[in-house]
């Protein structure tokens, strides 16, 4: 298994970039949790708005991560996976449009 040294092509800067991404996600999560807690405590219309922003930020993160991956793979000249990433994002958009049309 995996005995071909040529196959083990690693982007040496990728670990650092993923660590930075991890720290950014961690900070967004912390801010979202605090905002969510504030929204719950306020409880009125403005509280709902703050809680909605917090939940929305968390919902957006996985799709933004795919966009980040596509940009990373493009930089690494990994064309097949760039295409796959774009196909995945397109499928998400198609699903969204289909759901809107069937509303």
């Amino acid at each position: 298994m995996a005995d071909d040294a040529d196959e083990r092509r690693i982007d040496v800067g990728q670990a650092d970039r993923e660590a930075v991404l991890g720290r950014i996600v961690g900070k967004v999560v912390l801010v979202a949790a605090v905002l969510g807690a504030v929204g719950i405590l306020l409880g009125d219309g403005s509280g709902d708005a703050i809680a909605g922003i917090a939940v929305g930020a968390v919902i957006a993160l996985p799709l933004l991560r795919v966009v980040w991956l596509v940009a990373t793979w493009k930089r690494q000249r990994d064309g097949r996976f760039v295409v796959l990433g774009v196909v995945l994002l397109t499928l998400v958009v198609v699903g969204f449009v289909l759901a809107l049309l069937r509303r």
Partner: protein, 246 residues
């Protein structure tokens, strides 16, 4: 498991479904920093399998309503039980540390669905196998998720680990990443439809963020066979719940 619990306690299914998906996204996002640091997520495998799963989910969403809930629940129960037995029966570790490898190869390998991860000081290489069978299983999991409105992670992790022979730690981390994408896409649609209630959504989100952090730290402390056994027990619980609901 949140959705059945909410429905059993009187929450309407239309309210429970988005709350369940918020818990999935929040758990996925909470696990991200630790998993990125450990480099156990293989994003290439994740995106590849997610294309198949999302295609299946779209087809499932279009088919939704034409198959009865009872049949779907019983089918899911059988799938969960088979996955539990497959994971629980296997002894030891399939992918062993390779003493000839060093830290420089840890991560996912460019242009491939292979990679390596650290385990107990050693470096374990792996390569995705039986691609088409695995993609078929992912499409099926997506189809079921689209029809039944569930995350499908309990099918994806065993399919990645047992069919495509990816180490269970990498399979679990990668599935955590992919179910976040599926649930996020579904929640955007629900948000447009006005199905998300921010107050309850925030409560569930905070709970899942805490749970996701704790779960990821616990995962790092246990060996792959222990994780596999815990997963098998959870799958049997899911199977029983689905059979009872069906």
């Amino acid at each position: 498991m949140l959705v059945p619990a909410l429905v059993v306690t009187g929450t309407p299914a239309t309210t429970a479904a988005p709350l369940g998906l918020i818990s999935v996204v929040a758990g996925s996002v909470a696990a991200t920093p630790k998993q990125l640091t450990e480099r156990t997520v293989n994003h290439r495998i994740g995106v590849l399998t997610e294309v198949a799963a999302t295609s299946g989910a779209l087809a499932g969403a279009l088919l939704a309503g034409s198959i009865s809930d009872s049949i779907i629940a019983r089918f899911l129960a059988v799938v969960a039980f088979i996955a539990a037995v497959a994971g629980g029966r296997r002894k030891g570790m399939r992918n062993k540390p390779d003493p000839t490898l060093d830290d420089s190869v840890v991560g996912e390998w460019i242009g491939t669905t292979a990679g390596a991860y650290k385990l107990n000081g050693g470096i374990v290489p792996y390569r995705l196998q039986r691609l088409w069978l695995g993609l078929s299983a992912m499409s099926l999991s997506g189809l079921i998720a689209g029809i039944a409105g569930i995350g499908g992670g309990f099918i994806k992790t065993p399919a990645t680990s047992e069919i495509m022979k990816v180490p269970v730690k990498v399979a679990a981390s990668t599935t955590t990443f992919t179910i976040g994408i599926t649930s996020s896409a579904a929640l955007i649609v629900m948000a447009v439809r006005g199905q998300i209630e921010p107050h309850n959504g925030a409560i569930v989100m905070i709970g899942a963020l805490i749970g996701g952090q704790v779960g990821t730290r616990l995962q790092g402390r246990f060996s792959p066979p222990v994780i596999r056994r815990v997963l098998s027990v959870l799958l049997i619980v899911v199977s029983i719940i689905l059979m009872v609901r069906g």
